[in-house]
């Protein structure tokens, strides 16, 4: 199971939970599972509805590595990996 950490604004869609354990192989699967657990609002906040990619002003890290430097939503996730969602600092894609 990966450990998913969400920043404050996203927690309003997770009933206040800031850490959630999720069994998944990719970041895309994690977002799909978050949607099935908490509804479509959270997914809509994370993903751009036009491109289907992570919104420009949200950063997703696997063990501190930005998924933009990996394979984006297809980046692989393993057991005990720490997945962090954070608002971008500055002009985005951070």
């Amino acid at each position: 199971m990966a450990i998913v950490k969400l920043f404050s604004i996203l927690r309003s869609d997770t009933k206040g939970k800031k850490e959630i354990n999720i069994d998944a192989n990719t970041i895309q699967e994690i977002i799909d599972k978050l949607e099935s657990m908490f509804g479509p609002e959270l997914r809509n906040k994370i993903l751009d509805k036009n491109t289907g990619d992570v919104r420009r002003f949200i950063s997703v890290f696997i063990n501190g590595v930005n998924i933009r430097t990996l394979k984006g939503l297809s980046s692989e996730v393993k057991d005990d990996d720490e997945i962090t969602f954070l608002p971008a600092v500055g002009g985005g894609k951070y």
Partner: protein, 412 residues
Amino acid sequence: MLQKLQCRECKTSYEPNIAYFCEECFGPLEAIYDFDSIHLTRNEINSRSKNMWRYKELLPLQPQSKIIDLGTGYTTLHKCDNLGKYLGIKELYIKDDTGNPSASFKDRPASVAVSKAIENKAKAVGCVSTGNLAAATAAHAAKAGIPCYIFIPFSIELSKVAQISAYNPQIIKVNGTYDDANRLAAEASFALEWAIVNVNLRPYYVEGSKTLSFEICEQLNWDTPDQVIIPMASGALLCATDRGFNQFNKIGLVNKSKIKISGAQATGCSPIADAFKNKLDDVIPVREPKTIAKSLAIGDPADGPDALKVINNSGGYAESVTDTEIKNAISLLAKTEGIFTEPAGAVTIASLIKLVKAGKIEKDEKIVCFVTGNGLKSPESVKEGIHTIQIAPNLDLLTEKLNKKGEVLNWQ
């Protein structure tokens, strides 16, 4: 004066508190001013103290707020005839921010951000830094008497760590890159509610650097340059410089003609320059920056996409230079103009040289290069260039050694 914060993307407005992203779309927030209420004249500015706060109406503090000031700004604009002649440029200037209180341009954003933290009654301030911002933030926090937490990557120069330590902040050395330290600082800003100057105070912090543009206009006798060449790390300085020229134009203090805004990076970490050269709209992060210009070693530049837009819209250029070119430029600037810069400042000079060689600089353009940090901050970058003569204290030995070197002995 400051009116509000506004989301750069969806334009949602917010009170000017400690915040940096839009709660609707997560876009970055920026400071919005009520320009109709600003009646700043050249005479009024001339009558004020020679520091960055002479433009206080264009900085994001409330009028009654306490300013944390160490005397930052109004640094020298050198007319560089020697270097200009060497490069074949008639009017070349260096905006020399090595003379700021903590010896880099970062005193400008730090002064604004720490003042804003005090205005908002923050319990602690901090920053994530490659060194220069850390020194500037810690110095201003010391002056303000507020606790300070500094996040730095483990690899920054010892001389910078020594300077930071003297101001007595809590230094947190992160085993990783600047980008790793930045992510940790962002998490800490949420979890610990610290006012991190370049994270949750970022909308205010970035405003301090635009005073460089104000000063350049004033020092050019209320004129604007044809081109400025600016070192890029996050890209925030370049964006602030453009904003500064635009704001002075907006309130009628200069008649801004077209200014090319050009950016400079080191090839070991050049995500913005690479995007420019490859005609991309987006900036692809560099995972492991490798350059002696450590203060520019930000692989994932926060304002990279905006900096790229500014460069393209202005007709400017983005150039990247090797570590060897940087070292040569440090030496060239020092021996032609007497200015000792850290590698980041030499990146602009080395880029200027490349742009001249590529025919991208007109000989009669009025060029301003930014030198943003003092060479004493990273002396190890010039250690290969140290040449001395070591002798016993004896005049015959001295003349013998100098004769061997072919030095001129008689000046009369």
